[in-house]
Amino acid sequence: MTTTAPVASSPVVRAERAPQPSDGSWQGRNREYDLLKEFVVALVVVALLAAGLAALFSSPDEHQVTLTSWSTAAPTDFVATAATELDGTSGTATYGAPYTRTPDAAQKIGPVSLQHIAGVTHPINTSTDFITGPLASLPGDPTVSAALAQWTAASAAQQQSWSGSYDAALQKAAGNDPAKVAPGSYGPVPTMLTGLLRLAQAGRLDGALLLQGSFYQTDYTKPLLFIADGSYLADKGGAEHLAGEQWGMMNETGSYPGQAWLWLYTFWYQVKPFSTSGNADALVMVVMTVLSIGLISVPFLPGIRSIPKWIPVHRIIWRDYYRNTGSSTS
């Protein structure tokens, strides 16, 4: 497809060389310009580059972190995290919308809590969804079944007392090792958590948390939240420079280049007040919204819109024209 284009598409050139007639049609010289040829050339070049670079460098190959791999590699972290899920003090249990009803948990922009506007759309009770539910759905160990029955028969206050005491004792134990927890009134909690650990190490907890009542299991929210509540995943992410305070948004695992175009988003998280604020996500969103509106409004902002006069990159692009017409035209 060959079309014709004005020799000089700069509006300045059009105005100088060929005054516009009343019907607005171009009266200057035209040059053949094959759009389809340019499109095909660009497509082939990019396809060859993509295929060549993929063959040369392959792609990141970090192994997936699952409940099985986590509980096998870091059983003490798994049990410590499970204890916080059971007594409702984990990150997920206190996150607020869209998972839990925790009124003071959400980030705010002034009085507005964007997080709570949509409400609790994915309700999660960490105690039943992560611990007792999977234990009940996968029977097989009479000791664990008896512990679960004792837990279920107890009052909510008693359950909170058992789980809270065990969680506190586990955090005081050397290395958070369940085997080194001081004796106390923990009821069936240690037995339940040991049973859950065995379940996870056997690979059955991943499946139990993925059960969604349909043939295809595609919602990984629950296992991901459970894993993210522990320190194992965060430690692995930190080692790969993926944490928020490490400019993690623009990094990739291994030695691969990452999302460099997110530099401005992640920059704000490195400096105060964002780096020390509990509202950092909301604040950064506001800043980036304001900056984006500013970018769209560049043609209307006095001073900013004059930057091309001070840094005349366009004079390099259209250097042939400026060479021919002199340097007075901007």
Binding site: L56, E240, S255, V313
Partner: protein, 58 residues
Amino acid sequence: MMPLQLLATSPVNLNHRGHYLHWGVIQISVANLVVISLMLLLFAAALLLPFPKGRASR
């Protein structure tokens, strides 16, 4: 090594811990720095290299 494994092995292995540069609050991976430098070079080349001339039709 199996043939399929050979096929799946890339000549340049980047699946190892990356190198990072620290300068005050700024942290950047060497890989990102290389890509950004290449983009700047490409931008400069696009500005400075002569544009292919088309045929004037009139």
